[in-house]
């Protein structure tokens, strides 16, 4: 059983339309679409893990009709929910994909403020859930009212019980990369291109930063940079890997990192060796970007796509 933590989940509203123009009424017509799905990084990972075949409990904060909608969708996909419900609504994140102009516009809401009482309720529930899971995935942004020390505490509580934590949160939460010691670190750099207070891009920079993180977090086994899909950099204490998918045909970047991480955890818990875990994770990510939806839909295709992942071991 895997526990995914999504403190600031969302309902993702995705509009797929043609020729969007500002300052005009745009009515959806023809094959234009509006999809509403459960979202938030941890939620996506939960759905991905379930699709791959893991048993998952999703926790976090939810509220109002959007919160109920979120939980219902998770349960429809056979993910067990254990959210702390708050007075405020679960946020709605909007995205607009204009297939004619090939533009993607995203607007992410703050989320509702979490009260200190609810923070305690969540922690109590989290501690109880820790007694029944083998791994915790902490992913996504923090809602108003909660700072990164809360994540730090969640990681520590799990570590104290010898439960591995996979951390996939914004690279701006610097303190978490300075000794929180999660089992896996996969910084989310979509909105913040700095990592440990320095701008970061290029394989060299990723490797240096990864080594730095491994030194600062003595119990961390993996550091993975998935920011550049064509060059995924992964570090362990003994090796450094660069993975490159061949012949990428990107259709959709939604949830790519989340799919990758789900693939990683699935492979790791399956007992694959490190190289196979990394290849499998990339294959899941690859399969995801070449499909219109954000969900993992075809397990056979993933297996075939493993061959398309080039793995290079650096010294």
């Amino acid at each position: 059983m895997i526990l995914t933590v999504t403190l600031n989940p969302a309902i993702d509203k995705i509009l797929i339309l043609r020729g969007f123009e500002m300052h005009k009424l745009h009515r959806l017509v023809g094959d234009e679409k509006c999809n509403t799905t459960a979202g938030g990084k941890g939620v996506n990972i939960a759905l991905g893990l379930k699709a791959l075949g893991n048993d998952v409990i999703a926790t976090g904060f939810a509220g109002g009709y959007t919160g109920h909608k979120l939980c219902e969708e998770l349960r429809d996909h056979d993910v067990t929910t254990s959210f702390i419900f708050t007075d405020g609504l679960t946020r709605t994140n909007s995205a607009m994909l204009d297939v004619e102009n090939e533009t993607l516009t995203e607007i992410n809401d703050f989320g509702s403020e979490i009260s200190s009482a609810d923070k305690i309720h969540f922690l109590d529930n989290y501690r109880r859930l820790l007694n029944r899971v083998e791994m915790v995935v902490i992913a996504g942004s923090l809602p108003p009212g909660i700072d990164e020390s809360y994540y730090y505490q969640l990681i520590k509580e799990a570590n104290d019980k010898n439960i591995k934590v996979a951390l996939h949160v914004s690279s701006k939460y610097t303190s978490l990369y300075n000794g929180a010691n999660p089992f896996l670190i996969n910084p989310d750099m979509r909105s913040n291109h700095e990592f440990l207070d320095r701008p970061l891009d290029g394989i060299e920079a990723f490797i240096n930063a990864g080594r730095d993180v491994l030194i600062k977090n003595r119990d961390t086994d993996f550091v993975v940079f998935t920011h550049r899909l064509e060059n995924i950099v992964a570090l362990t204490r003994s090796h450094t890997y660069v993975l490159r998918p061949k012949g990428l045909k990107i259709l959709n970047m939604f949830g790519y990192c989340d799919a990758y991480l789900a693939g990683f955890i699935y492979g790791y818990l399956k007992g694959f060796d490190t190289e196979k875990v990394l290849r499998y994770a990339s294959a899941v990510g690859l399969t995801n970007v070449e499909y219109v939806g954000k969900d993992i839909h075809d397990l056979n295709l993933i297996d075939r796509n493993i061959e398309r992942v080039d793995l290079e071991i650096l010294q």
Binding site: I57, G63, H68, C71, R75, D78, V79, T80, T81, S82, F85, T86, D87, H121, D124, N125, R127, R128, L129, N131, R132
Partner: protein
């Protein structure tokens, strides 16, 4: 044979036995539930608290012995009583005999139990572990599921 595990609501909602009645009601409201399972500090299932358990406590004892509503209908006494018990510990209200089902119980058994016990939902428990609940609506909505 249809089993509870296939049709249950896999939602782990619970209050800790150290919570207050206020928290229990809050959880009922936020989660839209008529009964809330209670677990101990380490998450083991101990029992349930239903709306009627709290309503029962909120009603002054003497009120239940009065044959009709003539006396207190026009006074806020019951509301005041509810206000007085709101901060009591949830542990005072736990129904440890509240019926439960296991995930491998049959749907017929669960439906029968719901009917006999006049409950709106039954916690689904394996060993001491709460894994969700099975509600009247979970049962009643089975024929509504469309085959894809």
């Amino acid at each position: 044979m249809k089993l509870v595990r296939e049709y249950m609501t896999k939602d782990i909602v619970a209050v800790c036995n150290s919570s207050t009645v206020k928290r229990v009601i809050e959880v009922m409201v936020l989660h839209r539930l008529c009964a809330v399972p209670v677990v101990n500090k380490i998450g083991e299932y101990i029992g349930c608290i239903s709306e009627s358990d709290i309503l029962n406590e909120a009603m002054p004892t003497y009120m239940k012995s009065i044959a009709n509503t003539s006396v207190l209908a026009n006074i806020d006494l019951v509301t005041n009583h509810l206000g007085q018990i709101i901060n009591n510990p949830a542990s005072d209200f736990i129904d440890k005999e509240y019926p439960i089902v296991k995930p491998d119980d049959t749907l017929s058994y669960a439906a029968d139990l719901l009917f006999r016990s006049k409950r709106t939902m039954l916690p689904v428990v394996t060993g001491n572990e709460l894994i969700g609940f099975f509600s009247r609506l979970d049962f009643l909505s089975i024929p509504l599921v469309k085959d894809d």
